[in-house]
């Protein structure tokens, strides 16, 4: 892998200067030659160089506010209806200083607005916290603090989110961060502090640090994870109990934080694609779709209809794959091993389809900037058409063996209830949000690819409990099958990939695109300074809000319910930590 990258790196810049020269000479040629040699426009005509996408579809022009106005402005926007904090991206703009872009969304209309703020102080930058406006800001701000060292005043609990507490420095800073400050392998066990840190500003403008204990001395706290079979990966919950009742959960993240966003800053745009599949591996297609879409829209490239349709089908197959795994794991965690085998039996069928076309089972590497890596396999349509009725039939089996099970019903109905206000405030999109009555399916509200031409229902329930979250996923499998059914016979002819230059340079600006991933809105935020590598690439992970809501969802329920609640909320840990 690495060798490949290395061999690509030194080669790719070579064609680039040649191309640039061409581009530069072409317009001068035109301007000089057009008036004189008008009858010979031949060399120019067959090469319609795509204009550098004057207003790219997904370019965001954030409103810039000063740190003093920030809180007031955001509160005002929230009151105006932008009550979902969809994304929060910290960036080090170098000379200008460090700051944050807030992406706000109206949870009904899905309009977006962006606010940008740059902290005044460059050494110890600080901004006002917005944790009082949005619950999810708590985790988002901790992430920015961890990566950039931006201090959020009045944040109730400003600890690091991913890195160890004894980590030196902030790795995403553009200068002044030494990797060698930290050992590759930590020799000692991690110190986990029990103190929540709060910074405030004293009247004379100095930072004041306040530490309050997270747990009281006499609290009974048990550790779940990081190595626990039902946390779906390496996740650590410090759970405070009162008898058998959970009174607080403190999620401890970062055991699989690989710094994907940071690595991406040193990769060219086509290379960054490789890492998307490894974030949320059950949404590999959709992740890559989101990144490709963001880059394509920023470049002003229109992919062919064929690509759009194939991408849509693949996204839906991936969704089915993910929901089947959700079903299997949930059953396994609750002790129903047979259902686990049922789910995997059907999932293998989806993987067969993927494997034939993409060559991979889990890591698919299918979407490319400007199209697809390969055309679909000749068997693809036949296999998909065989799969649809089979899956429909098997879904009934699932209901028979598991949905109606009394034990499961008792463990999930009325358990882990989340209200609509809570899921919006926490930014829990996807099935978890829809189970609480929030219509948040981007496929409906901000249609992309071929979703505007297919007919499907947005599955929404109002109970907000574990059972609703479970049912949503099973129903979504049916809807996905329905979508695929409409498209599979109507794949238009066309190119499978646009011709792209070997070295891509995004125009200067900020770009944001989002797709509906398997478990919610997956957004990609790119800051470009016109280089062949992204200046900042941030993913709006679907999982971070989902794990942030665990405290709220579990408080007041029994410790045994934690497994069912965590299972139905359906997070994937490598997606949270990135």
């Amino acid at each position: 892998m690495e060798e490949n990258e290395k061999s690509i790196c030194p080669e790719t810049p070579q064609p680039q200067p040649v191309q640039e020269e061409k581009k530069e000479t072409a317009p001068t040629d035109k301007s000089t030659s057009q008036p004189t040699a008008a009858p010979t426009p031949k060399p120019a005509a067959p090469r319609p160089t795509p204009p550098p996408a004057s207003p790219a579809k997904n370019e965001i022009k954030p409103e810039v506010v000063t740190p003093e106005e920030l809180h007031e402005r955001l509160a005002h926007l929230k009151a105006e209806g932008y009550s979902l904090l969809e994304n929060l991206t910290g960036t080090d703009w170098g000379e200008e200083g460090m700051g944050v872009v807030y992406s706000l969304t109206n949870p009904e209309t899905f309009d977006m607005t962006h606010v940008k703020v740059i902290a005044a102080d460059k050494e110890t930058p600080y901004l006002d916290s917005v944790t009082d406006l949005w619950d999810i800001a708590n985790f988002y701000e901790r992430e920015v603090y961890d990566f950039y060292g931006i201090i959020f005043l009045n944040h109730p609990d400003l600890r690091r989110l991913f890195l160890r507490e004894d980590w030196v420095g902030h790795p995403f800073r553009k200068n002044g961060y030494e990797e060698s400050n930290n050992p590759e392998i930590a020799e000692t066990d991690e110190p986990i502090s029990d103190l929540a840190v709060k910074y405030t500003l004293t009247p004379d403008g100095k930072l004041h640090k306040e530490e309050t204990p997270l747990f009281a001395e006499e609290d009974y706290v048990i550790n779940l994870g990081p190595q626990h079979p039902s946390t779906h990966g390496v996740l650590h919950f410090r759970t405070r109990l009162e008898g058998e009742i959970i009174t607080k959960i403190d999620p401890h993240l970062g055991y699989i934080h690989r710094g994907i966003e940071k690595i991406s800053e040193e990769l060219t745009y086509p290379q960054t694609l490789a890492l998307t599949d490894r974030m949320d591996y059950l949404g590999a297609m959709q992740n890559r779709h989101a990144l490709c879409m963001c880059i394509e829209q920023a470049l002003g490239v229109e992919v062919s209809d064929r690509v759009q349709v194939i991408r849509t089908i693949m996204d839906e197959l991936q969704r089915i794959d993910s929901h089947l795994l959700f079903f299997s794991c949930l059953c396994q965690d609750l002790g129903a091993t047979t259902s686990f085998l049922y789910g995997f039996r059907d999932r293998e069928k989806v993987l067969d389809i993927f494997e034939e076309t993409c060559g991979g089972r889990l890591i698919l590497n299918y979407n490319m900037i400007g199209g697809l890596a390969y055309d679909i396999h000749p068997n693809f349509q036949r296999r998909v058409k065989e799969f649809i009725p089979m899956m429909r039939k098997n879904l009934k089996e699932y209901d028979d063996i598991f949905t109606g099970n009394v034990i499961f019903q008792n463990r999930s109905k009325g358990v882990g209830i989340l209200s609509k206000e809570q899921v919006i405030s926490f930014g829990c999109t996807g099935g978890t949000g829809r189970a609480s009555g929030w219509h948040n399916d981007l496929r409906k509200h901000r249609p992309y690819a071929a979703y505007d031409r297919v007919e499907f229902k947005e599955v929404v329930r109002t109970e907000g409990d574990s059972f609703a979250r479970y049912m949503i996923r099973l129903d979504e499998i049916r809807e996905s099958l329905h979508i695929i059914e409409q498209l599979i016979d109507n794949i238009p002819e066309g190119k499978i990939a646009e011709k792209m230059k070997p070295v891509l340079k995004l125009p200067v600006g900020s770009y944001y695109s989002a797709v509906e991933g398997s478990r919610g809105i997956l957004g990609v935020h790119i800051e470009s300074k016109g280089d062949k590598m992204p200046y900042r690439l941030h993913y709006r992970a679907t999982g971070l809000p989902l794990v942030a809501v665990m405290d709220t969802a579990c408080t007041g329920y029994m410790i045994a319910d934690l497994i069912a609640i965590g299972g139905t909320i359906d997070y994937v840990v490598p997606d949270i930590d990135r």
């Binding site: 690989r258 890492l275 795994l325 889990l362 490598p574």
Partner: protein, 212 residues
């Protein structure tokens, strides 16, 4: 078969250990008279048993773990080889399959899990990440190969490896287990990279205690 050079057992002279003929004759005689007796090396029996009931620890950090689940499910069915009993506690497990990326933060946890396992214990590094850091070698927070933390017996390359590769890797481990000697020699050939350090710490501790 390794036998201690000069076993001292009362009443049996050392030479008789080499005398297979008498034993074979004895077995034949017994068999003819209807007594079911088999002779063989006890090592072989133990190795046969152990290699066919390797209990893995459920340990998965990322993508490769999902493929591990696929191996455990019906189509690839690792129960055919006796690996199906996945244990959630390291104290009951024989082999730790490192599925996925190990980060700096996870490294001490993995080391502790390994130390909690009872001997004989094995490690299989699955996927590019566990072998060398895989696609994340450039990262500031990824351990470039689990063999820097714990000794590895089998490497299974891939990103992720196919289920067949998992099974092949596990079968290689079985081969390793089958040639082991339970009696007489040291089982683990590979050095624990932390052993020396531990010894040093232990000596120091003893010194401190003496002084006190």
């Amino acid at each position: 078969m390794a036998i201690k050079k000069n076993p001292i057992i009362d009443n049996i002279p050392h030479e008789e250990f080499q005398d297979n003929e008498t034993l074979e004759k004895l077995v034949e005689e017994l068999n003819q008279n209807g007594v079911g007796v088999v002779v063989g090396a006890l090592d072989k029996l133990i190795d046969w048993g152990r290699s066919n009931s390797l209990w893995p620890l459920t340990f998965a950090t990322s993508c490769c773990g999902i493929e591990f689940m696929a191996v455990a499910a019906a189509r690839y069915d690792m129960a055919r080889f006796g690996f199906e009993i996945t244990r959630n506690s390291p104290r009951q497990a024989d082999v730790i399959l490192v599925n996925g990326t190990i980060t700096t933060k996870m490294a001490p946890v993995l080391k502790r899990l390994y130390n909690q396992m009872a001997d004989p214990k094995y490690v299989v590094a699955i996927g590019g990440c566990a072998i060398s850091g895989g696609p994340f070698t450039k990262s500031y927070h990824v351990v470039k190969g689990v063999d820097k933390i714990i000794p590895v017996d089998v490497y299974v390359p891939g990103c992720p490896p196919r289920p067949e590769a998992f099974l092949y890797g596990m079968m290689q481990l079985q081969r390793k287990v089958r040639v082991e000697n339970f009696f007489g020699t040291v089982n683990r050939k590979e050095q624990d990279p932390y052993k020396e350090k531990m010894d040093e710490q232990y000596v120091e501790l003893l010194k401190q205690q003496e002084e006190a």
